[in-house]
């Protein structure tokens, strides 16, 4: 077993964990980060993309609202390129308590959320698809944030400063001797090799999984309630502003325009298993109904995909409720030396994407205290790589760039404008043969055709560049098709159903992928029934002549 030594070991590659790595690297600490899967594959990569103004919490959770206000301002500066400045609206629909609007305005004033009431007619001029029966409207500085871009930027920035970022490394043991945690052993999911990482401080940033990781260090009672929510991406910018229902937060009351889609969210169901990705039909129906209330005609638009995310809700000692929306959304930093008498281990969990930077800052402050060093935080002012100009992302920016280069470039994924050169670079950089890893980097296969055209192309390029064996390439192709289908089938209707059938036609009808050597159906029976047909058949027999060579 090989061994690494470092100042800080971060377990968990979500926004918080990578945020900790970026923060610690900026302070000059040596960092190793491990995740059992890819970066941002858990909760971070499974949210709607809303950068909160604080408005959503203004009445219910003033502390959370204040944190959002501050972090919204900071992230607009340091992560400018990851953010589209859509602005936000809170609107009172006929189904909302009309008394909430005044409480909302007062809550915003008290917590510092910049909020301006506008005439409904004015709101409708800006967002003509909104329900014309809205009675109140407030503008707030909500925005949409691309979480993958944010996480990759921090990861690259940390790596440039010496951090070692190791996705697909699952922690199998936490090294604890007596009352001291000295690091962990992680297993490389690809090679199966184990790696010992000796660390002065270990940070458990595993969100909804934090209780399990703490338990591996022999620490009991870190209870994180996983709250599962579904989100549906609609294949259009049905709105260009984040639209919230002006009511106490509930299911299906936000639509976030992000990239070329709009995302409606979300539900909130307690689950015992953070890896539970069930999509109940009734939740899909509820989302579509709520969407229809905000944007009449919502159901006639094309639904691309549904997915679930699991919020990590740290259980407060006093709350014993399983209604997860009532548990605080605040984050929790546990210093296990103070809490359990175990030195060298911190747990950071709870919270929300908008406050990831603050969570990382508080965590690395605690790391420095444990190390007895004074190193001031710099993430408040240091822009992420790519965000130095301070300019926000604009819809259409990529298209403009692509059009300029189109003559000499080949698009592999037309929906998401992924050129061949970029795909080849990503294959080289990630070293991954998993097309889903490439997708998280480049958005490959995330558009309307959901991989219908790019899956074959990308597999071909992967095979050619990486010199994979046929069976490995086939496995990548089949796994990506299955992965895309996972989010499509529970919300499949209308034009997206036609698209799905076309994709099936291409892969099963034209390419015959189910007849590849590794295809699931033929895996067992292929030898028995397949080989006979391949040999001995004359082919030219029958009703028409065949030309001789």
């Amino acid at each position: 077993m090989s061994t690494l030594s470092t100042d800080v070991l971060v377990i968990g590659g979500g926004a918080t964990g990578v945020g900790v790595a970026w923060d610690a690297a900026l302070r000059g600490l040596d960092v190793v980060l491990v995740d059992r899967h890819d970066l941002a594959q858990g909760t971070s990569g499974r949210f709607h993309g809303l950068l909160h103004s604080g408005g959503r919490y203004a009445v219910k959770d003033p502390q959370a609202a204040r944190e959002c206000v501050a972090e919204n301002r900071i992230l607009r500066r340091v992560a400018a390129d990851c953010i589209e400045d859509t602005g936000g609206l809170f609107v009172t629909t006929p189904w909302d308590d009309p008394g909430y609007a005044d409480r909302f305005a007062a809550g915003c004033a008290e917590t510092g959320v910049r909020c301006e009431e506008v005439q409904p007619s004015q709101a409708l001029r800006g967002e003509p698809r909104l329900n014309p029966r809205i009675s109140r409207a407030f503008r707030v500085p909500d925005a949409s944030i691309d979480v993958w871009k944010t996480v990759w930027a921090m990861s690259h920035g940390a790596q440039q400063r010496g951090a070692r970022i190791l996705p697909y490394h699952e922690v199998v043991t936490i090294d604890r001797s007596g009352d001291v945690v000295g690091g962990a052993v992680a297993r490389d999911a690809r090679s199966g090799d184990e790696l010992r990482i000796e660390a002065r401080v270990t940070v458990n940033a595993t969100g909804a999984w934090a209780g399990r990781v703490a338990q591996m260090a022999g620490i009991e009672g870190v209870r994180v309630l996983p709250g599962r929510g579904i989100m549906i991406a609609m294949n259009h910018r049905l709105v260009n502003t984040v639209v919230n229902r002006c009511q106490m937060p509930t299911d299906g009351d936000i639509i976030v325009p992000i990239r070329t889609v709009s995302v409606i969210g979300t539900t909130d169901q307690h689950t015992d298993d953070p890896d539970d990705h069930t999509v109940p039909q009734e939740e899909v129906d509820r989302m579509l109904d709520e969407g229809e209330r905000l944007v009449p005609g919502f159901r006639r638009a094309r639904a691309l995909r549904v997915w679930t995310g699991v919020r990590p809700l740290f259980e407060d000692a006093k709350a014993d409720s399983t209604a997860t929306r009532d548990v605080t959304r605040a984050h929790a930093l546990l210093d296990h030396e103070q809490r359990d008498g175990v030195r060298g281990l911190l747990t950071i969990t709870g919270g929300k994407l908008t406050t990831y930077r603050l969570m990382a800052q508080e965590t690395v402050d605690a790391v420095c205290r444990q190390l007895g060093e004074s190193r001031p935080c710099r993430t408040e002012t240091e822009p992420l790589p790519g965000s130095e100009s301070g300019e926000h992302y604009r819809l259409g920016e990529r298209l403009a760039r692509k059009e300029a280069e189109l003559r000499g470039e080949q698009l592999i994924c037309e929906c998401e404008l992924v050129p061949r050169s970029k795909l080849e670079r990503a294959i080289a950089q990630t070293g991954s043969t998993d097309l889903d890893d490439i997708r998280r980097q480049l958005r490959l296969g995330m558009g309307p055709c959901q991989g219908g055209f790019c899956t074959y192309r990308a597999t071909g390029i992967l095979h050619e560049r990486d010199g994979l064996r046929a069976l490995e390439a086939d496995a990548s192709l089949l796994a990506f098709l299955q992965e895309r289908w996972k989010g499509v089938w529970p919300v499949l209707y209308g034009d997206q159903l036609r698209q799905a059938r076309l994709d099936e036609w291409i892969f099963q009808g034209v390419l015959g992928v189910e007849r590849l050597p590794t295809a699931p159906e033929t895996a067992g029976a292929g030898g028995a029934s397949g080989a006979g047909g391949a040999s001995g058949a004359g082919g030219a027999s029958g009703l028409a002549p065949r030309e001789a060579p």
């Binding site: 192309r457 597999t459 095979h463 209707y493 992928v513 028409a544």
Partner: protein
Amino acid sequence: MTGPGPALDGPLHFDAVVIGAGTAGMTAAIRLAQSGARVCVVAKGVGSTHLAAGTIDVLGRIDGEERVTEPGAALERLIASRPDHPYALLGSGVVADSLSWFFETAAASSPRGYEYVGGLERNMLLPTAVGALRPSTLVPITMAAGEASALHRAAIVGTHALRDFHPSLCAANLREAGIEARPVFLELELERADMSALGIARRFDDPAWRALFCAQLSPALRSEDHVGLPAMLGLRDPHAALADLERRLGRRVFEIPTLPPSVPGMRLYEILRRALRSAGGRLVIGAEVVAAERHGERIAAVATRAAGRESHYAAPWFVLASGGLASGGIELDSSWRTSERVLGLPLRGVPDAGEPRFVPDFFAEQPLGRVGVAVDPQLRAEGAENVVVAGAALPGQAPWREGCGEGVALASGYRAAQVIVRESGAGAPAGARAT
């Protein structure tokens, strides 16, 4: 259904109106026109041909037989085990007759020498662009040399400009199947970094381009006796292109179908279009049926909207060949209601409320997959006695899983015309066989 609004001109009268210009609709229309009927095809757009491989797949897989070797014999087993399958309604005789008819028609309407080969006795096993071996019953002559049993040493040729074909992956999978295949990349002089097979196919119509292509390819070939290319050997005269390449390269050459738009599919469409025209039928593309005039159990006329104006088509008979879920002929809305879109006809094969429509496994059979318009044994739609249904709109089939899409389309289009000719008392069409 709502009745059509007033049109500027009166309705156009035909003996039969066919809705849909895929293989099924075109077959029905050509047969009707050949029998002397005045027939018109109206379609929202070109049909399935442009998406498919351009082969005629009659039957590639049935329960318990992963790869059907003898489609004629397997057809009988399918008919016995699946009484709801379109083939069970049609009978194997109609399938054989429709294929014979297709040979004659294709031969008469194809560019010189571009014929289909194969037969119900044995499926041909041809490489796909991913390098899997797919069974087809009839294939264009340009694909025939790719038959797996005769394929020993093959060069699989592509160019980086064509993103829809990847020789190294194709060759690697063929090697898994025991074929000695080697990828060859050519850097062709093309005007763009990004060409479709269709764009390159237009170049192959030019003999000078073919000479340049072969001059570049020849030195890259070794001991291979076969050369596989993506399906792009020209649109106007593909057989001449094939013969030219085989002569210049001194090897057998074959096409491999790849992502749409499908060049061999477009050739097939062109063959059917010419056959319809020479039989005197009409074809209106870009004319979506937007309304129907209905009297009780009969459809009197349909209205189409094209170029901003409505046209009415009246006929004693209609053929519904508007396809299934893929073409939009059958729809599922966000409230999970399934409907036939053109005439609002009743469906069969819709899972009961509360039952799954789809399942989490992409490669499993999807419960909604076999949905179609409810028909009687004569293919007549339930509740509309003068509407005959053909092609993917028929229930009980899984076109891609079973590899039966074109076979069902041909046989049911053929049968639809037969039913109409018989029922309308117009006498047997010229050259028709008794079934």
